[in-house]
């Protein structure tokens, strides 16, 4: 067994960390407060190669292994959840489906701009009536001549309504299967297609500097060549996309936990009460020790899931475990981090309160913690 990272992976960690500390950390607080998505910062992230990380160089991707991708997301999340969300959703949900299921023409048309971070792409899955229960979705696509006509709406879609948005992948019901269940198909819809509207969602508690949208499809007509893969592939494409997405959400939990822990440790070593740094008090030292243990466990679990994926072995169970564990871990660590900061922890300028808020999405997005437990319980034979 070899736990060493490769030279490449170590370099990626160092350089992404440096970028995040120098470019993201100074603006994270302000963007969060103003609830503002920064196209400028997204482009900078694109310049250093944070998009298209697992896409081949043919389409201007970085052709990295999955652990390298996860390390990059982790390092950005260590500084700011919003920017990590832009990257994780951009890669796993925006770029991923086009890369894995798209035709050569679709890849050529969209991937280079997305992989350079010049444009973003959304993945329209969740609907007002369909969250954990994908069966509740109502968006439909009907074939008329050589076109498909899409009607319906989507909600909570990342990267789908900002100035960099190029378009979205939308999952729609295209018929009924023999067993009576709906047949799903994914379509690529460019942002200027008539009848398509993307509206930014505001007043979020977390990820306030990432772009979240409601999507409306009112007789949106797309040609046949905009089908992603084949008619009827939509459900499996969605499942596969979410399996990969779980790893990047896991990376956000792990990175966020590390970031909150680093802030708490630094503060505990410098804050003095009763004549000594508070880290010397067992109550604080033990909290930090517990966090360190859990972060180590989380990293091993997540990297193992990524390793399985790199080896093209089944990784779905481990991905669900890593998503669940890393997400909830960040909740525990952020909670301790605020507690260790005392009153200052409640103030925005100390940053830990942002980690505390940003974490909550991880229990909910891309499969709630409850759904992960369903998935895991089935894998273990319950």
């Amino acid at each position: 067994m070899n736990f060493d990272l490769t030279t490449e992976q170590k370099m990626i960690r160092r350089e992404v960390r440096k970028f995040a500390e120098n470019e993201i950390a100074p603006v994270a607080l302000e963007l969060d407060e103003k609830e503002e998505f920064s196209a400028e910062l997204t482009r900078k992230m694109g310049e250093i190669g944070l998009f298209g990380m697992f896409v081949s160089e043919e389409y201007d991707g970085q052709a990295l292994d999955y652990i390298s991708y996860i390390i990059a997301v982790e390092e950005v999340a260590r500084i700011d959840g919003s920017q990590a969300a832009t990257i994780a959703a951009g890669n796993s949900l925006g770029i991923g489906p086009i890369n894995y299921f798209g035709t050569k023409e679709q890849k050529k048309k969209y991937l280079p701009q997305l992989c350079r971070g010049e444009k973003l792409w959304g993945f329209g899955l969740t609907e007002p009536t369909a969250g954990s229960d994908a069966g509740g979705s109502k968006t439909t696509a009907v074939k008329e001549g050589k076109e498909w006509v899409i009607n319906g709406s989507k909600i909570f879609i990342t990267n789908a309504a900002c100035e960099l948005t190029l378009g979205v992948t939308v999952q729609a019901i295209t018929g009924r299967r023999a067993n009576g269940k709906p047949e799903y198909t994914c379509f690529l819809v460019e942002k200027d297609t008539p009848g398509f509207k993307a509206v930014p969602m505001h007043k979020k508690m977390m990820w306030r500097a990432s772009n979240t949208a409601e999507l409306y499809f009112d007789n949106v007509r797309v040609p046949e060549e905009n089908i992603l893969g084949k008619v009827g592939d939509g459900f499996h494409q969605m499942l596969q996309t979410l399996d990969g997405g779980r790893l990047s959400i896991g990376a956000m939990g792990l990175g966020g936990a590390q970031g909150a822990f680093d802030l708490a440790l630094k503060y505990a070593k410098s804050r003095e009460q009763f004549g000594q740094p508070i880290s010397k008090f067992q109550a604080i030292g033990f909290k930090l020790a517990d966090c360190a243990v859990e972060i180590e466990c989380a990293r091993n679990l997540l990297y193992k899931a990524c390793w399985l994926r790199n080896e093209k072995r089944s990784f779905e169970k481990e991905a669900a475990m890593a998503k669940l564990y890393c997400s909830e871990l960040m909740g525990r660590v952020a909670n301790h981090a605020v507690q260790i900061h005392g009153g200052y922890g409640l103030m925005k300028e100390y940053n830990v309160e942002r980690f505390y808020r940003d974490q909550k999405l991880l229990d909910i997005g891309e499969g709630t913690s409850e759904v992960q437990r369903i998935v895991i319980s089935r894998y273990i034979g319950c």
Partner: protein
């Protein structure tokens, strides 16, 4: 233009809390995170920009143990074309003259128009650039904060002078320049650059390859030796302002007004 940039692996002050070791001979080097010396990084960026403008090649060189390879690889990911590690057990404990002796041997093996160093590194002595130039019998300019190429023999270089003044000089190549921070804005290392160099072999030259006699370098050849290393006692002239940030700012403004620095 063939450019050689000398780089050093140093403790990263942004990633570490630096303290003095218990023996009082050096900083405590356990568990330190290292990176490329900041001044050297500016020098590499400048070299890359020059080659982007006029063509040529940037080689980065470091004196150090095998771990120094990581800073060479990093600077290559940033855009330097080649790396060269000068490593030998006999190099350990070199003083500034020893390092310059080793570098001189490496410079002589190439055909460089321009050699750049950082203005200083972690030890703060700032002597290698000047000594290297003297040993090579080449012209030297220190604390360089701008470089303009006049022709293939001449550069116009700006130098930062005490008190905020600026000096412009013409200098003939081949020459050695020590680079001041702020001369440019070093680029970030991108993932594509990392992928390009992650598995590149970096050649290593030892004392024999360089023709350096082991008695002239390392601790054996060092004529400057650190005797003591400590954090100085606070003197009477210094006043440390205490309190919350707001209180400190108020006190500072008050002091500046009293001393005539603010009106």
């Amino acid at each position: 233009m063939e450019i050689l940039v000398c780089v050093k692996r140093v403790p990263d002050t942004s990633e570490n809390e630096i303290g003095v070791n218990s023996a009082g001979t050096d900083i405590d080097r356990d568990d330190l995170v290292y990176s490329v010396n900041e001044w050297d990084n500016y020098a590499v960026e400048e070299a890359i920009q020059i080659v982007d403008r006029v063509g040529g090649k940037v080689t980065v060189v470091a004196v150090g143990d095998s771990e120094s390879e990581e800073v060479l690889r990093r600077e290559m990911a940033m855009g330097a074309n080649d790396g060269l590690l000068l490593s030998d057990d006999s190099f350990g404990g070199s003083d500034g003259k020893g390092i310059a002796t080793i570098l001189k041997a490496a410079v002589k093996k190439g055909n460089y128009d321009l050699v750049l160093t950082g203005a200083q590194a972690d030890a703060g002595a700032g002597q290698v650039g000047g000594m290297l130039a003297a040993m090579l019998d080449q012209p030297y300019a220190s604390l360089v904060n701008s470089i303009e190429i006049i022709n293939d023999k001449t550069l116009k270089v700006g130098r930062e002078i005490e008190g905020g003044n600026q000096e412009m000089n013409e200098i003939q190549m081949p020459c050695v320049l020590s680079i001041q921070t702020g001369i440019n804005e070093p680029r970030y290392v991108g993932i594509r650059g990392i992928r390009k160099v992650a598995s590149v072999e970096i050649p290593v030259l030892g004392a024999l390859d360089l023709g350096v006699s082991s008695g002239s370098v390392g601790s054996a050849g060092a004529k400057v030796k650190v005797q003591d290393y400590f954090v100085p006692q606070l003197g009477k002239g210094a006043e440390i302002l205490e309190g919350s940030t707001e209180e400190i700012i108020d006190k500072l403004i008050e002091l500046l007004k009293v001393k005539g620095g603010l009106k």
